[in-house]
Each structure stands twice: as structure tokens, then as C-alpha cells.
Amino acid sequence: MKRFHPATWLLLIASLAIVSLVAIARGAVPIPLGAAFDALRGVGDMTAIAIVRDLRLPRVLLGALVGAGLGASGAALQGSLRNPLAEPYLLGVSGGAAVGAVIAFSLGAGSDVVITLAAFAGGIGAVFVALGVARAGGRSVRADLRTLLIAGVIVGAFANAAIMVALASAEPNTVRGALWWMMGSAADATWTRVAWLGASIAGAGAALLYWAREIDVLALGEETAASLGVDAERAGKRIFLIAALLAAATVAAAGLIGFVGLVVPHIARHLGLRSHRPLIVAASLIGATLVVAADLAARTLAAPVELPLGAITALLGVPFFLVQLRRAA
């Protein structure tokens, strides 16, 4: 395996910056890259400044934050569950969060704070249901990680069913909102939403980085972790909860976006990163770049029709999942 080169950090940051600038410039009204950069600084054409600052910049930031949250969440889950296929979407965490968000939404909650909290409650609920289902299938949760993954898929399916049932009797407005959550989209980006998501991701991300070395130890298995003085059960639950919070915050802001959390940690490991503190930072940067690029594709590929962002990431992620599954088998 190759060694991680420190200059790779510059490459990761530059990729995010370039993709973001292109995403700011491209759209229904194309703006040349130079003019887009000027508009960011508040220089030049007033219309361009308005489009860039009020519409595209918050959308790009929202996409970047969603990607960062999903990447960090996936890296933490894969390490602590010792499962290269773990990610919030496949574990049912995102599905549960979507149920929470849809319930809050259909009860008339409008504020991002309430919806994020409801999504978090839903995500945590899904975690416990998935753990319960996995436990019903075996004695120890981490003893059989495949069971946990299957449990997650079952919880995800249940979450989908719950949303469908809620939809059957809902008003058209609620239906539109719920569909939006199921497909994933960065379209409803407002500065308030960006700020709220940014705060959640920063807080939970900092917590994850604080405990990152514990993930290194958890990745060695419960017994070895115990011999190094780490209570795997407690530490694992802590990481799981923080990862669920990260995923739930992204779901509240942009709906269900799958496979980013799966793909991105593998790319970070492929760059030569092993230790989870740098791995989580790199996964955040790569996730941000990936989601901004996927959202750009969603907006422009079939313009004027906008494709669902979650569908784009799934199209990228499913083949990747199959390759990983083959490798794991």
C-alpha cells in the first residue's frame, strides 16, 4: 500500500475549492469562472452577485456540509463497527432520520432546529431498532456485523414504509416535502439552514475527532480493545451516536443521500490514511467535493429538469458497493 503524502491535503482542499467554484458558476444562468469569483467577493454585475451569493453559494455550502457530515459519519461507522460496508444510509440511520423529519414536517414544524432534532430522534430510534434486530439474530452485536447490516436494511425498508403510510393520507404539500426528503436535494438551501447544519456538523465532527483514536483501537476488535483499556461496548455506542447525529443533521438539511458515507472512507484509505483522526478529516473533504459535484450534475445534466441528488449518489455508489461486497466475500 502506498504512503499518504502530506501534499495530498493540498490536493484535497484544491479539489473542493475548484469543484465549488465550478458549481457556483454553472447553472440555469451560466457565469464565467472569473466573474463568479468576482461575484463572490461582491465585485461586478449586480445580478451575478445576487445569483452567486443568495442562490448558488448557500447551495454549494449546504452540499459541501452534507458531504462532509456523511463522509465523517461513514468513516467513523466503518472503523468502529469494523465493517467496510457500514454507512449511515445502509445502517438505516438516515431512513430513521427521514421518518423523524417527515413526522415533524407533517405536524407543521417549519424551523430547521425542530426538524433536525426530530431527524436526530428518528436516527437514534433507528439505531436502537437496528441493534435490537441484530441482537435478536445473535448474541453479541459486533460478533456478527453482517447481521447488523441486514438489520439496518430492514430498518431502512421499515422507515420507507412508514413514510409511504404517512403520505397516503397527507396533504399535497406534505407529500411534496416527504418526497423531497426521500430523494435528497440541496435545492432548498437557505443561509439559516446552512448555518444550522454547519453548527451541527462542526459540533459533532469535533466530538468525533476528539474520540478518533478510540476508533483506531475499536477497529482491532472488542477483546484487543479491552486489553488496551477501552470498553468496546461503551466506546462503540458513543461513536455510533455521534455518527448518527452527523447523518441526521444532513438528512434534516438535504434528505436521504445514500452511499457517500460508504464510498468516501474507502477513497481516503486508498490515499494511504489509516489512523482515524486524519482519515475522518480527509473523508469530510472528499465527501464535500463529491456531493458538490453530484449536486452540480443533478442541476445541469438534464436541465431544465433537476435530477434528485440522492439518485445521482446512488448511481455512483451502487457499483462501488458491489465491488466492495465482492472483495469482502
Binding site: G79, R82, L220, E223, A226, L228
Partner: protein, 262 residues
């Protein structure tokens, strides 16, 4: 010194005790071997040391203190354990893996300093794997991987070392190398507990043997006292003789044949 005082373990939902009142000591400077048939409670003893199971009775002491009263990271600085199995989900460079043995000394944030890295290099050397330091853990043979795991435990620089069947699946040379390493570590002052099925090798290397049967100590003492054909035959439920190894003079167990008539 680790002391087991009437230790009992019962798993949730189980009627029988996995370990039913076991007492023995693992003194510093000695190699103590724990043996016994499958299911006799050896791994439960290791799990109890790691505090992965609650004791149903008795206590485990470390230099006079009950391990139940010792904080986890302090315990990990005093006692290093190489569990029976470990499948790493993601490969790592051998040196980085061994350096995780410093975790109980470093905690979440302290960076390894020169002294930590010196101890990691010393552990690699002691385990005889300094030439593997830059390899990936998924590119190792079974024998190399076992020595890498032992090096990780050595990097913990704990005065007590416990290994659960470290030579399973290893060939003669790799197995001997590990026994020699554990013997030297014990002679250098560590308290070493080796869980092993290799009675003949154990009889040659260990200072003391503890033989478990159905969760109780069936025999304990010097190898010459434990290697008794009559008792081993009962414990393993198989006809055996004990001879003297011609080359070394150590007691040697020879299981006899019981051909099947199919």
C-alpha cells in the same frame, strides 16, 4: 503478580459455571501455563482478566489490588493480553499497528514521543519482526501476524503478559520461536501466563502448569507434578502414557491410539 482467588464465572442464561472457584498465581519472572480440555474454562479466565465478564464469585488481584478497582487504562499499563482471535477489518502498517500498544500510555490526544517510538522499535526487535515493520498487516503469514500481535502487547510495556493460544496454526519453527520469546520475557522479569494445548512444549518451558477440568483446577504445580498419566487420562478422557523425552529429559505425553471399527 496476578492472583486468582476462588474465581467463578457464569455466563448470563447459563446454568453451569464456566469457571467454578479457581485459585492460582502468576508470579513475576515465571512462565505459568494454563491448559485443559476444550471448554474447561481457559478462555473464560482470560475474559475475566480483561473484565469482559463479571465474576460470579472470588476476585482477581494484581500486585495486591483487585482488578475491579483499577481504572481500565491503568490496568492496560499493568497487564497486556493477546486474545485468541483478532481479525483486523482494515490493514495497517505493522509499525503503526504495534504503536497502538502505546495507547494506554498516550490516551486520546498525547502524541507518541521519542521514548514511545523507542519502545515500539524494541518490541518489534524482541518479537523478531523488525524486518516486517513497513509491511501491511494483510500481507503477513499466520506466524508473522501472531508475532506482530505479541509485539503490540510488548509495546504496552506492562509487567504482566497473557497470551491465549498464541501458537495455534503455527509450524514447528514459529511455535518454538514464540515459546523461546515467552520464556525469555519471563526470565527478564515479566509475569507471563500462556494458555496452550501444547502440553509437551509447555512441560519443557513453563515454570508452573495449571490444568483446568470442567471449570476447576484439576492439577497444578511444576510440569513434573502435573504430567501424570493417570490424571491426564481422566481429564482428557483418552488413554495416554507419559514418558521422558529422550532429547531433553522433560516429561512427554504420548496419546495412545483407539482405532475405530467402522
Amino acid at each position: 503478580m496476578i492472583t486468582f482467588d476462588d474465581v467463578a464465572v457464569r455466563y448470563p442464561g447459563a446454568r453451569a459455571f464456566a469457571v467454578g472457584g479457581v485459585s492460582f498465581a502468576i508470579p513475576r519472572g515465571q512462565l505459568t501455563a494454563l491448559a485443559g480440555p476444550n471448554g474447561s474454562g481457559k478462555s473464560s479466565i482470560v475474559r475475566a482478566l480483561l473484565r469482559r465478564v463479571d465474576l460470579a464469585g472470588g476476585s482477581i488481584g494484581l500486585d495486591g489490588r483487585s482488578i475491579a478497582d483499577i481504572p481500565p487504562s491503568e490496568l492496560a499499563r499493568s497487564l497486556a493480553v493477546v486474545p485468541q482471535r483478532e481479525e483486523s477489518a482494515f490493514p495497517a502498517r505493522v509499525r503503526d499497528y504495534v504503536a497502538l500498544g502505546r495507547y494506554p500510555h498516550l490516551g486520546l490526544w498525547k502524541s507518541p514521543d521519542a521514548e514511545d517510538m523507542r519502545l515500539v522499535e524494541a518490541a518489534l526487535r524482541q518479537a523478531g519482526i523488525d524486518d516486517l515493520a513497513d509491511r501491511e498487516t494483510d500481507a503477513l503469514s499466520g506466524g508473522e501476524w501472531q508475532r506482530v500481535r505479541i509485539a503490540r502487547a510488548l509495546a504496552q510495556s506492562a509487567p504482566a503478559l497473557v497470551l491465549d493460544e498464541p501458537t495455534t496454526f503455527l509450524d514447528v519453527a514459529h511455535e518454538m520461536a514464540i515459546f523461546e520469546l515467552l520464556y525469555s520475557l519471563a526470565r527478564a522479569g515479566k509475569a507471563v501466563l500462556l494458555v496452550s494445548h501444547q502440553l509437551n512444549l509447555v512441560a519443557r518451558f513453563a515454570d508452573n502448569m495449571v490444568l483446568l477440568d470442567a471449570g476447576k483446577v484439576a492439577l497444578s504445580g511444576a510440569p513434573s507434578e502435573v504430567m501424570r498419566a493417570d490424571r491426564l487420562e481422566q481429564i482428557y478422557a483418552w488413554p495416554v502414557v507419559v514418558t521422558r523425552d529422550a532429547a531433553t529429559g522433560a516429561p512427554a505425553l504420548v496419546p495412545l491410539r483407539q482405532p475405530l471399527n467402522l
